[in-house]
């Protein structure tokens, strides 16, 4: 049942709404479709498609600089995720379990690097590192990434902790588990999927990040920075191919992530395990 009982007269209005909604949808997806289509187009100019080719993608594979940038993006993504899992998870437990005044303010400040326009964080960190005469390198880019991936992990994990509630830990302690054992045997397994989901989300955001990275990058480039550089020379088919690749990768990561984040995720038990368990 849809949520409103639709009477005869409103059906027409309903259709207008649906058409409008559909148009917005199309609007949201057409640019992405355009990019993908062009990445397969053999002509160098943008106008006039004549067939499908993987030529541009193959060129990507041969572009050493590009591959290096891709590698860098992966490296920094993984590092940022690992670091923010440590800082973010401990922070999540700190915020949800420990009592102290001013929690709301603390949460807001921690959230800032993620929700503020990237330019603010970018320039702030740039001024910071250069004032200390730290050269722009992988380290500075990593700092930039950790600044926004940590809030992601912290808020995802604290959201899960709050949803699970304090009862499980209490039950564990009541049954004889010290706080440490309760954490290892009960709490940690129960937030496992939140950790995985947050890691995937953080990686995706990091992989795509250009705004802050651009401030903090020297010669060590991530893929988006490299791509941005390519834009200086105008739109070429290679640009579309890179874009297509990025789209595909991000999409798969996001779809993978949805398995782990969400209200049903903490009871996600892969079918195999369920069958094995009931044996």
């Amino acid at each position: 049942m849809s949520r409103l009982s639709v009477e005869a007269g409103t059906e027409k209005r309903g259709t207008i709404l649906k058409v409008y909604g559909f148009l917005i949808f199309v609007f949201l997806y057409i640019p992405l479709v355009v990019v993908i289509v062009f990445s397969f187009s053999p002509t160098k100019t943008i106008v006039g498609m004549s067939g499908v080719t993987l030529k541009w993608y193959k060129e990507l594979a041969r572009d050493a600089e590009l591959l290096k940038a891709l590698l860098h993006s992966v490296e920094i993504g993984v590092l940022a995720v690992v670091i923010s899992l440590l800082f973010g998870t401990s922070g999540a437990f700190f915020i949800t379990r420990v009592r102290f005044p001013g929690k709301g303010v603390l949460r807001a400040i921690i959230l800032l690097p993620y929700i503020l326009p990237g330019i603010i964080m970018g320039l702030t960190l740039l001024i910071f590192v250069r004032s200390l005469h730290i050269p722009l390198s992988m380290l500075t880019v990593l700092m930039g990434h950790v600044s926004f991936t940590t809030p992601i992990v912290l808020f995802q994990v604290s959201s899960r902790i709050l949803r699970l509630g304090p009862t499980y830990k209490m039950a564990a302690m009541d049954l004889g588990a010290t706080p440490v054992k309760a954490f290892i045997f009960v709490t940690l397994p129960m937030i496992r999927t939140a950790l995985i989901g947050a890691a995937l989300l953080a990686f995706t955001v990091s992989f795509d990040e250009i705004v802050i990275s651009y401030f903090l990058t020297g010669t060590w480039m991530t893929l988006p920075v490299y791509l941005y550089g390519m834009l200086r020379f105008g739109l070429s088919p290679k640009v579309y191919a890179v874009s297509g690749f990025i789209l595909a990768l991000s999409l798969s990561l996001i779809l993978l992530m949805t398995r782990y984040i969400g209200s049903s995720a903490e009871v996600v038990v892969p079918k195999k395990k369920l069958i094995k368990a009931s044996r």
């Binding site: 049942m1 849809s2 949520r3 009477e7 409103t10 209005r13 709404l17 917005i24 949808f25 949201l28 640019p31 990019v35 100019t45 943008i46 401990s90 922070g91 437990f93 700190f94 915020i95 379990r97 009592r99 005044p101 807001a108 921690i110 959230l111 800032l112 993620y114 929700i115 503020l116 326009p117 330019i119 603010i120 320039l123 702030t124 960190l125 740039l126 001024i127 910071f128 004032s131 700092m143 950790v146 912290l154 808020f155 995802q156 959201s159 304090p166 939140a194 955001v205 795509d208 941005y228 834009l231 739109l235 640009v239 579309y240 874009s243 990025i246 991000s250 999409l251 949805t258 995720a265």
Partner: protein, 295 residues
């Protein structure tokens, strides 16, 4: 069920031992937020002479911003643009959110995901997409010529405020969609049934029940779109051309060509104050959940 164990007024601070959990995050906060901001604030009171930064306290940067008319004008221009973008994004996202929430029986989750996905699949790629659509040899021109509306490609689509606006709108629509959708979903079905039962048709239910109840989400979405649009520098840089100096790329240029870091710091702090103030409004008037960071 959780509330059974939290109806209490406990002592203000836990045992000191508990605070060990907080050390990493406080260290993070110190080194990646607090100290850098302290440096930036300091920087905003310095001045630059050529390639050298003079570390003597001065209010010159702020004075420069407020007195030379071009700067406030750019800020105002950006504020106006951000406002329009937020309004249009709201106008696009709200009806879609309403449609998905109220008018769909099956496939709600799927469509929700489909509205979110553009958010996560690369900011830069989306900008590239619009450049290719709006350009002289872009998709839009091609289609218009092919249909026969125009003979020559129009240059009015790219490298101007229109291009910035449409791209920013495109970027911000998902940011508006999420909080609006969340707050619409939270309206209990029973309230809608009650309204209908008491004689309200759909439009009246919408105006008197749905719209007010979805206000927090609406405000949150609007504010997110506004702040994002205000602070963006890459889109004006890539798509704005000579007309496209917005506050964002004004700040950016201080760290690029102009090498006037103190002035850039001051401008950045001004943007910070504006952003934080406006974002702070969400805490008061908007909804604090429905963020893309909570489950």
């Amino acid at each position: 069920m959780n509330n059974r164990y939290s109806l209490r007024k406990e002592p203000l601070f836990d045992k000191p031992r508990e605070f060990i959990k907080g050390i990493p995050i406080i260290v993070w906060l110190l080194f990646l937020v607090i100290i850098p901001f302290a440096f930036t604030i300091a920087m905003s009171f310095y001045s630059s002479k050529g390639l050298v930064i003079e570390k003597s306290f001065t209010l010159a940067n702020y004075i420069k911003f407020f007195t030379e008319p071009i700067y406030p004008r750019i800020l105002l221009k950006s504020l106006r643009l951000a406002l329009s973008v937020a309004v249009i994004a709201l106008g696009a996202a709200y009806p879609v959110a309403y449609m998905v929430s109220f008018k769909l029986k099956r496939g709600k989750n799927l469509l929700f995901m489909m509205c979110i996905i553009p958010l996560w699949v690369s900011y830069l790629v989306r900008i590239i997409a619009w450049r290719s659509i709006l350009g002289n040899r872009g998709v839009l021109n091609t289609i218009l010529m092919w249909i026969g509306i125009i003979k020559e490609p129009l240059t009015i689509f790219l490298y101007n405020r229109f291009a910035i606006a449409i791209t920013l709108t495109y970027i911000t629509i998902p940011f508006v969609f999420i909080p609006v959708y969340t707050s619409l979903e939270k309206i209990p079905k029973s309230i809608l049934n009650a309204a209908s039962d008491l004689g309200a048709n759909e439009m009246r239910t919408f105006l008197n029940v749905v719209l007010p109840l979805s206000m927090p989400g609406l405000i949150t979405g609007f504010i997110f779109a506004f702040v994002i649009a205000l602070g963006d520098y890459i889109i004006p840089l890539q798509l704005g051309g000579t007309q496209g100096i917005m506050f964002g790329n004004l700040i950016w240029s201080q760290f690029g060509f102009s090498f006037n870091w103190p002035f850039g710091a001051a401008l950045g702090l001004i943007l910070l104050v504006i952003s934080v103030t406006i974002l702070g409004l969400t805490a008061k008037y908007g909804s604090t959940e429905g963020g893309f960071l909570s489950e």
